[in-house]
């Protein structure tokens, strides 16, 4: 069956020039062109132009890329609109300067005083403090264990007054251990703890507040503890761990996707 009965169109002609037609369609278009020599000459010229353009610009793409364009050497700049995050070299010291939705994250790139997190990042500060307190806990790292997950979810959701979910991080090597309720000013915060086969633990801290907009991820480091935080849908989230930034970021992205319902959390 020579399937496609549709007449030849401009889109077919571009498809032919750009080599994007199925073989059958291409044969049909070429046959049509055989009966339209004027158009065939144009198409031939267009193909030649395409090749010249590619050949002319090819050397640029074949050059070695300048060092300043290496991702490792790129820094988000303050003039960018929005909130930037970028994991700096391990030596980088945190310098968080959070504003509203249009705020900035600034970094102490090299040197600078070993500042602690500034007070404008209360959720991150609290999350890191809670992490430090409970991650070393051998006997009671969590109040409610993962095997009582329905109870855990219902309890935390009720106390926070906001739906709390338990993202599934098994794809990243982390299993849910359980969670606990924490004080957060006059409100409450939920902390879920996960661990991997090597005993690496990380926490997901969440609480209501900090506006209802959505921010990008903010990166913070305090000593050996790294944290990614963001705000979405009236909740503040902080993923904290003693793991490398790339892995932590992957986890933060997965959590974000799951709490927004963009990815199945396979509860």
């Amino acid at each position: 069956m020579s399937g496609d009965p549709r007449p030849v169109g401009e889109d077919d002609l571009h498809g032919l020039i750009d080599g994007r037609l199925e073989p059958e369609r291409q044969a049909l278009v070429e046959a049509w062109l055989a009966g339209n020599p004027a158009r065939a000459a144009e198409i031939s010229a267009d193909r030649a132009l395409r090749e010249r353009l590619r050949a002319r610009l090819a050397p640029i793409a074949e050059e070695a890329i300048p060092a300043r364009l290496r991702v490792a050497n790129i820094r988000p700049r303050h003039r960018l609109v929005g909130v930037g995050w970028f994991p700096m070299a391990a030596a980088a010291v945190l310098c968080l300067a959070l504003g509203g939705a249009g705020g900035w994250v600034g970094y102490a790139l090299h040197g600078g005083p070993a500042t602690a997190m500034v007070v404008e990042a209360p959720a991150t500060q609290d999350a890191v403090a809670a992490f430090r307190t409970f991650v070393v806990e051998a006997v009671h790292p969590v109040e409610v264990r993962a095997d009582e997950k329905p109870h855990l979810v219902a309890w935390l959701s009720k106390r926070l007054g906001h739906a709390v979910t338990t993202p599934d991080l098994t794809a990243y090597g982390f299993r849910l251990m359980g969670g606990r309720l924490l004080p957060a000013g006059s409100e409450s915060a939920a902390m879920l703890m996960y661990d991997d086969d090597r005993g690496t633990r990380l926490t997901l801290y969440s609480r209501v507040g900090d506006g209802d907009g959505r921010t990008l991820f903010r990166f913070a480091r305090e000593g050996d503890v790294a944290a990614f935080s963001w705000v979405d849908g009236g909740m503040s989230y902080v993923v904290t761990g003693r793991t490398d930034e790339a892995r932590l970021l992957t986890v933060a992205q997965a959590v974000d996707a799951q709490v927004r319902g963009l990815a199945p959390d396979r509860r």
Binding site: R52, A61, E63, V71, R77, F86, A246, D256
Partner: protein, 169 residues
């Protein structure tokens, strides 16, 4: 970090190529690529994870380019013929040495929307749907712009005129 680099860095040669074709100035082109990468890293968590990374990067790059064009009132974009010297290896176009017209000069005479669609489709190998995404227009508009771009380029290469010269050298 390394993971992000592994995803983004393979796209840098193409981002540079597109930037040079748009700006015709090597230094400015790398500045544009740098801005693109900075923006991409800042927005990394907000990108559509099911979207095409390459198309996303080209979108950022083009939008930054358009922003710069607007800010400079277009003056910074219409570079003089001397900027052609900055494009490396003119010998790569054998016809250039035979006195044939430089395709990049012809490209320069196109309106930006036509220039971009031709570059993205014919040089960067984006699909028509990806080009539509980068340009923020429907697929049908991509095809009609492509038709106009090709018609004008044919005309330029045959006669040295596109009927819409923005600058005459």
């Amino acid at each position: 970090m390394d993971e992000i680099a592994a995803l983004i860095e393979p796209q840098i040669p193409a981002l540079r190529r597109y930037a040079v074709a748009l700006l015709r100035d090597r230094e400015a082109a790398d500045d544009l690529v740098q801005d693109t990468l900075e923006r991409a890293l800042s927005a990394w968590s907000g990108r559509r994870r099911d979207g095409d990374l390459r198309a996303w990067l080209f979108t950022i790059e083009r939008n930054l380019f358009l922003g710069a064009v607007r800010r400079r009132g277009r003056r910074g974009v219409d570079v003089g013929a001397e900027a052609l010297d900055l494009v490396p290896d003119p010998g790569a176009d054998p016809e250039a040495s035979m006195g044939a017209r430089d395709v990049l000069v012809g490209l320069d005479t196109l309106p930006e929307d036509q220039r971009s669609v031709l570059l993205l489709v014919a040089v960067e190998d984006l699909s028509y749907a990806e080009a539509a995404q980068v340009l923020g227009v429907p697929l049908g508009t991509v095809m009609s712009r492509l038709s106009r771009a090709r018609t004008r380029m044919r005309s330029f290469l045959e006669t040295g005129r596109t009927g819409l010269l923005r600058r005459v050298k």
